[in-house]
């Protein structure tokens, strides 16, 4: 297990290094001079040169890549061209919204999807299964911004249970903050949960036909015990893969939902940064997202190994 984890970790580091090199190169190839951007078209040549010097744009590529990497490792992503504040601060502030939002959405979709998926599988072909399949069809088909507006209309505008948008910040305590994030989290969780229900269901159905499930029944376990003790862990393997992919999406793929609820999250920051050609911020966020994806994959790999001993144990006999 330790060797397995070390190997996965080594592969994580290599992937990260490759990704950083790629992102850096692409950003270099993109046209546009940051100094020109900051100072505008009418800037003086010598002012431009001075600013380039100050930003370190004149240094050789290798040196700049090195500075960028070392900076990131120390938590320094540079200073935003548009906001003139450290990018770290900028991202950190947004993450206090995006991270809890993503986690909430993931938790919600998991909590909803796994039991429903198991229910659908164990009632295969009968009404709970059929209606769940229908419901997930709708869940996948509904655009989540539309569902988000519906939620706002019902729970914020009509019932006044939740705020319709905005974020009060964590300084007021966790209550109002979580309350503000709940509706967006539900809107995000709906399509994810619908997909997860289906994956869980088909994975469970497959496992139900496995010989060891029959063996378990022959031992005297009832259907529920068989599902819980022998089915679930085996069925979870494909589900975890999908959950890993979903989390990466939830962290930054949420621009539309953030707009509907006017939440200043990471998705909106990327959107704005790209619009304003704030390349240093864009670069930092992309690197952060790539790192998240790679790291989540690492976690998924480790989880696989915890679930399935075949992955890390070698034949002993």
């Amino acid at each position: 297990m330790i060797i397995y984890s070390l190997r996965r970790f080594a592969s994580l580091c290599v992937t990260l290094a490759a990704a950083s090199l790629f992102i850096f190169s692409v950003m270099e190839i993109l046209p546009g001079d940051p100094a020109q951007l900051i100072l505008g078209i009418n800037a003086q040549t010598d002012t431009l040169a001075a600013l380039r010097e100050q930003l370190g744009l004149n240094l050789p590529l290798v040196t700049r890549y090195w500075h960028w990497i070392v900076g990131m490792l120390q938590g320094d992503f540079g200073v935003s061209y548009t906001y003139s504040v450290p990018v770290t601060e900028l991202i950190g502030e947004r993450l206090t919204i995006s991270l809890p939002l993503a986690l909430m959405a993931l938790a919600l979709s998991t909590l909803i999807a796994l039991p429903l998926g198991i229910l659908a599988a164990s009632t295969h072909g009968r009404w709970p299964d059929v209606s769940l399949i229908g419901a997930t069809q709708i869940g996948i088909a509904i655009p989540n911004f539309w569902f988000a507006m519906l939620l706002v209309l019902v729970f914020a505008v009509t019932l006044h249970w939740f705020p319709s948008g905005g974020f009060p910040g964590w300084s007021e305590g966790a209550g109002p903050a979580l309350k503000a994030l709940l509706l967006p989290a539900i809107a995000l969780a709906l399509p994810q949960a619908s997909i997860l229900v289906r994956i869980m269901r088909s994975s469970m159905l497959e496992v139900l036909h496995e010989d060891y499930m029959r063996t378990a029944r022959a031992k005297g376990l009832n259907l529920r015990q068989t599902l819980a003790r022998h089915g679930l862990r085996n069925a979870l393997i494909p589900v975890i893969t999908i959950m890993g992919l979903q989390f990466s999406f939830l962290l930054a793929g949420t621009v539309i939902i953030e707009n509907v609820f006017s939440l200043p999250g990471l998705g909106r920051l990327v959107f704005q940064a790209i619009n304003q050609r704030d390349l240093i911020t864009v670069k930092a966020i992309i690197m952060l997202l790539v790192a998240t994806v790679i790291f989540v994959n690492f976690l998924v790999d480790i989880t696989y190994a915890l679930i399935d001993p075949r992955l890390h144990r070698r034949q002993m006999s």
């Binding site: 060797i3 190997r7 080594a10 496995e210 010989d211 060891y212 029959r214 063996t215 378990a216 029944r217 022959a218 031992k219 005297g220 376990l221 009832n222 003790r229 022998h230 862990r233 085996n234 679930i307 399935d308 001993p309 075949r310 144990r313 070698r314 034949q315 002993m316 006999s317």
Partner: protein, 546 residues
């Protein structure tokens, strides 16, 4: 009163009748053999007793176990009986265990479920059961996972679970079909011993009459959901009356009749001609996975210095237990898997250094028939298309007429009709599909066919037909065979010479009958001794009965 009594049990699934009026009884300490072809309802009879039937099943009649009618019991009560009063051993040890749980825990689970013991006590009891089935906990830790055990060891774990509560009844559904002869003999002996220790009854399901003849006190022969004949053993073998039972018996001891005399490798007529297939000191190693990146990889020698020559018209058998390197050798001989050392020649050409056009010629001369006739065809292709596939090896500009003619000829050679080319694989039975696989091999007019366990997946009666076909084709077309099998009776019936393979090496070779009569190597002797032989078994049983 009998321990187990089935009275007029009928089963329908959906609207389909599966079992009709099954009646038999089984006493404590006795063994009942249930035999019949696949699809005859043997397994569903077992599952009816366990009450583990698929949904939409309807069961009529009564099944009494120790005085209780299981058909009437509610599910909760049944759960208390399963694993406790009746244990079941399944056919596929490779998939019958949960891959994610240690074997000890899987045995423990059964004990915890049915008795009021602590987890610690259950652990001790589980160790004892594993010990009883021959898995010494000091050598094979109960903390191991199923994938770390061999097929035979896994079947022992399944048996340990089935016997953990000393059930009155053990149902074993083809418990050794997926195993080698040597493991089969061990597992059967184990079941026998446990049965007499615990005084439990054993219901043994098998398609192999020899296995049943060895173990059972009585036998029931099933066909299409009915029991056509039943009675005590060995007496029933003298008075088989139903044509189906007689056919089953005859197929089990079937020996194909050959027109031409056997051809041995030392025949003087062969000295001057070049062999069709030859291998010289072939070594094929497989690297094991690295323990850690950059560490040196160790390798296993799957094939370790094998020499062989096969001449036109020769039929040679290759026997050995699973994992001994038989299939690897076959792949190497076919030109699919280059050896690290030594050389292979098909005709005059070395398939690993031949140029493209020579290679095509080489490939045309050597064809293969695989074990599983169900998985070897694309279900969406018509049979004609599948059979014609190897034709690209012949000529590129083959005309439509010639192609169709060749398909028709091949299909006729294996006893099918040219019209079958227009059908899809699912329209054929398993035996017919194996015929189609042979037709596909024949279409290039090869000189030699490598048959890798070609009848292992088939029922005895179909097996007999396919073996007849192989023999007949050899007589008519002067084909050579390399016949690979772990089943010695199969190899014995169709080959002139055999080679015994053990851990990548050929340890013994010679004329088939000579080796069967007088094996030199202990391993060969063990292999032959472990192989069930119906005639011998019946003779022994009769002697015991007297």
């Amino acid at each position: 009163m009998s321990l187990l009594t089935l009275d007029n049990v009928s089963l329908t699934i959906g609207d389909k009748p599966i079992l009709q009026n099954i009646s038999f009884s089984l006493e404590r300490g006795q063994c009942l053999g249930l035999v019949g072809e696949s699809g005859s309802g043997k397994s569903l009879t077992a599952l009816s007793i366990m009450q583990l039937l698929p949904r939409q099943s309807h069961l009529a009649g009564s099944i009494h176990l120790a005085g209780e009618n299981l058909v009437d019991l509610p599910e909760r009560q049944l759960c208390k009986r399963r694993g406790n009063l009746m244990g079941m051993v399944f056919q596929e040890p490779m998939t019958a265990l949960n891959p994610l749980k240690p074997i000890g825990a899987q045995v423990e689970e059964c004990i915890l479920l049915h008795s009021a013991v602590t987890r610690h006590e259950a652990e001790g009891l589980a160790r004892r059961q594993l010990q009883r089935v021959g898995l010494d906990p000091d050598q094979i830790s109960p903390g191991r996972f199923p994938h770390q055990l061999s097929g035979g060891q896994r079947q022992r774990v399944v048996i340990a679970m089935a016997i953990a509560m000393k059930p009155d009844l053990i149902i074993a559904d083809e418990p050794t079909t997926a195993l080698d002869v040597t493991s089969q003999a061990e597992i059967l002996r184990l079941l026998k011993d446990l049965m007499s220790e615990d005084q439990s009854a054993l219901m043994l399901i098998s398609h192999d009459l020899a296995v049943v003849a060895d173990m059972a006190n009585s036998i029931a022969i099933m066909k299409k959901g009915r029991i056509v004949e039943q009675g005590p053993l060995p007496q029933l073998f003298d008075s088989l009356a139903h044509p189906y039972s007689i056919r089953l018996f005859e197929s089990s001891t079937h020996k194909p009749k050959r027109q031409k005399p056997p051809l041995f490798g030392d025949d003087p007529s062969l000295a001057a001609v070049a062999p069709i297939l030859s291998a010289h000191s072939v070594v094929r190693t497989y690297p094991l996975p690295r323990q850690f990146p950059y560490l040196e990889r160790r390798a296993t020698r799957a094939v370790d210095g094998v020499d062989l020559t096969i001449h036109k018209g020769q039929s040679i058998g290759l026997v050995g237990e699973s994992g001994c390197g038989k299939s690897t050798l076959a792949r190497t001989l076919l030109g699919l898997d280059a050896p690290q050392e030594g050389s292979v020649h098909i005709g005059r050409h070395d398939p690993y250094s031949a140029n493209k056009s020579d290679l095509r010629k080489v490939r045309r001369d050597i064809q293969i028939v695989f074990q599983d006739p169900n998985g070897s065809f694309n279900p969406r292709h018509k049979i004609g298309r599948s059979v014609a596939e190897p034709l690209y090896l012949c000529r590129k500009d083959i005309s439509r007429e010639e192609r169709d003619e060749r398909i028709a000829t091949s299909l006729q050679q294996v006893g099918l009709t040219p019209d079958d080319a227009e059908k899809f694989p699912h329209e054929f039975s398993g035996g017919e599909r194996q015929r189609i696989a042979i037709a596909r091999a024949l279409i290039t007019r090869p000189k030699i066919i490598i048959a890798d366990e070609p009848v292992s997946a088939l029922d005895v009666s179909i097996r007999a037909q396919i073996l007849d076909l192989f023999t007949d084709l050899r007589d008519r077309l002067d084909l050579s065979y390399l016949f690979i099998s772990h089943d010695l009776s199969v190899v014995r019936s169709v080959t002139d010479e055999i080679m015994v393979m053990y851990r990548g090496r050929i340890i013994e070779r010679g004329r088939t009958e000579a080796i069967f009569q007088n094996p030199r190597e202990p391993y060969t002797r063990a292999l032959i001794g472990a192989a069930p032989d119906l005639h011998k078994t019946i003779a022994r049983r009769r002697k015991e009965a007297e």
